[in-house]
């Protein structure tokens, strides 16, 4: 964390619209190394559009995105992933006919530089050990040999995040890591994710709807409303903002 003056991620003046719908306007966000930044906002506020622009799925109409000072605007998702931005998905994106371990091996093989080992056994070259280690971190090692199609939703969610860590990304984006988890299980689930992630990735941007989770885990919060950033600061500051209360958190905060 210390000694790094340049932000890991620097997005400036991002704009994106779909026809008449403005999904992003003048979005400027800098994420310093080691920060856990939470994005909040109601559905359609522009959180996922931001995540999609940063990971290359969408190209912004205007603005620039830099990773460690290098411009990555408009690059393909795979190129951006190679540069160190990895993401998990709100709906887990897995290969359901493969086992949990095979999914991990795919992620690990994808993270390695292409070489002869790509033509060797998937488990070779320490890939199996790394796969087990990551599955273990998320407490899903017992399910390693099961096809994903037989795994419960919560475990798929964890596997999805574990795969995003295979590369030890510079920046990890988690799209609603606790969605689909019941209210009383949200804290244990988030604890598990944060514990598992520690040491693998330190700079994290996550999207979350539960304000208690936001308060508990974020260093900083950014609130979106119709494509714009309406508040940016500490959790206490943002969650007590009148506009945020009206448009995002409702009466809950």
């Amino acid at each position: 964390m210390a000694g790094d003056t340049r932000p890991v991620l620097s997005a400036r003046g991002l704009a994106k619209s779909f026809g008449a719908v403005v999904a992003a306007a003048e979005v400027t966000i800098e994420v310093p190394a080691g920060e856990k930044l939470c994005l909040i906002g109601s559905n359609g506020a522009g959180k996922t559009t931001f995540v999609n622009m940063v990971t290359g799925y969408l190209t912004p109409d205007a603005g620039t995105i830099e990773l460690d000072g290098e411009t990555i605007t408009g690059l393909a998702p795979r190129t951006i992933a190679r540069k160190g931005i990895c993401r998990s998905f709100q709906i887990p994106q897995l290969c359901i006919e493969l086992t949990a371990e095979e999914n991990m091996l795919v992620a690990i093989a994808a993270a390695e530089p292409r070489g002869l080992s790509f033509w060797a056994d998937p488990a070779a070259g320490g890939r199996d050990a790394r796969a087990r280690e990551l599955l273990d971190r998320f407490g899903i090692a017992a399910m390693a040999d099961r096809p994903v199609s037989e795994m419960p939703g919560g475990m798929r969610k964890l596997l999805d995040i574990a795969m995003a860590l295979a590369r030890r990304p510079r920046l990890l984006l988690l799209d609603e890591p606790t969605s689909g988890v019941s209210a009383e299980e949200k804290f244990p689930a988030m604890d598990r994710v944060m514990e598992a992630v520690s040491g693998q990735a330190s700079t994290i941007v996550f999207v979350e709807h539960d304000m208690d989770i936001v308060r508990g885990y974020a260093d900083r919060v950014i609130a979106f409303y119709s494509g714009r950033v309406i508040s940016d600061g500490t959790p206490d500051h943002v969650l007590s903002d009148a506009e945020v209360k009206r448009y995002v958190s409702g009466g809950a905060a």
Partner: protein, 320 residues
């Protein structure tokens, strides 16, 4: 099945087939030689199919391998069948490497139709090319192996043995590839290509290389076929020929390369017997055969012994 066991089983299978060949009548030796030569083309389709795409144009690479080998014989005077097979394989692989990256940009039916279109363009060009015999094609005399001319019963057996060894080794390589990180990545692309891209791998480049591998196998099959058949014509690139390769791949299912050769042999047997006993309706016999497979073995012949992972969670992978 571990990789060592796989190689040992494959070697044992090839040795057994070489021995059995000594007892087979000449017509059956020829039939098995053709089935192996055609089967390896369908093994190539399997390499693509595992990534979720089907090529309806493998006739293209089959014809390129065949013509490259045949022309090397008649124009350049190269008679050694092993060299001819290498030339056919290399020529088709080169074409595959050239068109693969273009084709790999497409998925689903677009990919299938483009491969079909390319093969039909090749067919059209070949049929209008008097230099290579036009629609009649041309004949190729029997080649040589280590300086010995392949004639008579001995020559037939030598070609049979060559076909078993060459296609056997190539198929074993494909089975090993299936168990590699690349092979796993190919299956992952079939399962969720978008996620693979997000993990940092180019789906297009993996599929382009898979197409090149399939092209090399197609060229290998084409060269082996003309060496055994002694004849080549533009129908090698015709869509019905490509369709037959897909037919065999579907018949076999994507679980096992061994099943592809069984399916290929079954096709050759059904074809020759139906031709003999009901020459005008042999396609119908083939249709009924495929219908029976689809009804009773929807995952292909290979599912009889491979790909039953759900029943036995301890097993480590597919069998060859």
């Amino acid at each position: 099945m571990s990789r060592t066991v796989l190689v040992l089983v494959a070697a044992g299978l090839m040795a057994a087939l070489l021995l059995i060949g000594l007892a087979l009548p000449r017509w059956l030796l020829f039939l098995v030689t053709l089935a192996a030569s055609h089967g390896i083309v369908s093994v190539g389709i399997l390499v693509i199919m595992r990534g979720g795409l089907v090529s309806f144009g493998q006739g293209l690479v089959f014809a390129i391998g065949g013509y490259a080998a045949a022309l090397s014989f008649t124009q350049l005077g190269i008679t050694d069948v092993i060299v001819l097979i290498l030339i056919g394989t290399a020529a088709a692989a080169l074409v595959g490497a050239a068109v693969g990256p273009l084709l790999a940009r497409y998925t689903g039916i677009f990919f299938g139709m483009l491969t079909l279109a390319l093969s039909m363009v090749a067919y059209g060009v070949l049929i209008k090319s008097p230099a290579v015999g036009g629609s009649d094609g041309f004949n190729i005399p029997r080649g040589t192996l280590f300086g010995v001319r392949l004639e008579g019963a001995g020559g037939d057996y030598a070609l049979y043995a060559l076909a078993i060894l060459v296609t056997g080794i190539a198929a074993t390589a494909v089975a090993l590839h299936t168990r590699s990180a690349r092979g796993l990545m190919t299956r992952a692309i079939h399962g969720n290509g978008l996620r693979v891209e997000y993990l940092g791998t180019s789906v297009q480049s993996v599929m382009a290389i898979n197409f090149t591998i399939a092209a090399a196998l197609g060229g290998l099959g084409g060269a082996l076929t003309i060496v055994a058949l002694g004849h080549i014509e533009p129908t090698f690139a015709f869509w019905t020929q490509s369709g037959e390769f897909v037919f065999v791949a579907i018949l076999a299912g994507s679980h096992s390369v061994t099943a592809v050769f069984i399916a290929s042999l079954a096709l050759e047997l059904v074809r020759s017997f139906s031709n003999l006993y009901f020459p005008n309706t042999w396609q119908m016999a083939l249709g009924l055969f495929l219908l029976a497979i689809i009804l009773f073995l929807p995952a292909g012949i290979g599912s009889l012994w491979a790909g039953r992972r759900k029943a036995s969670p301890s097993s480590g992978g597919e069998t060859p």
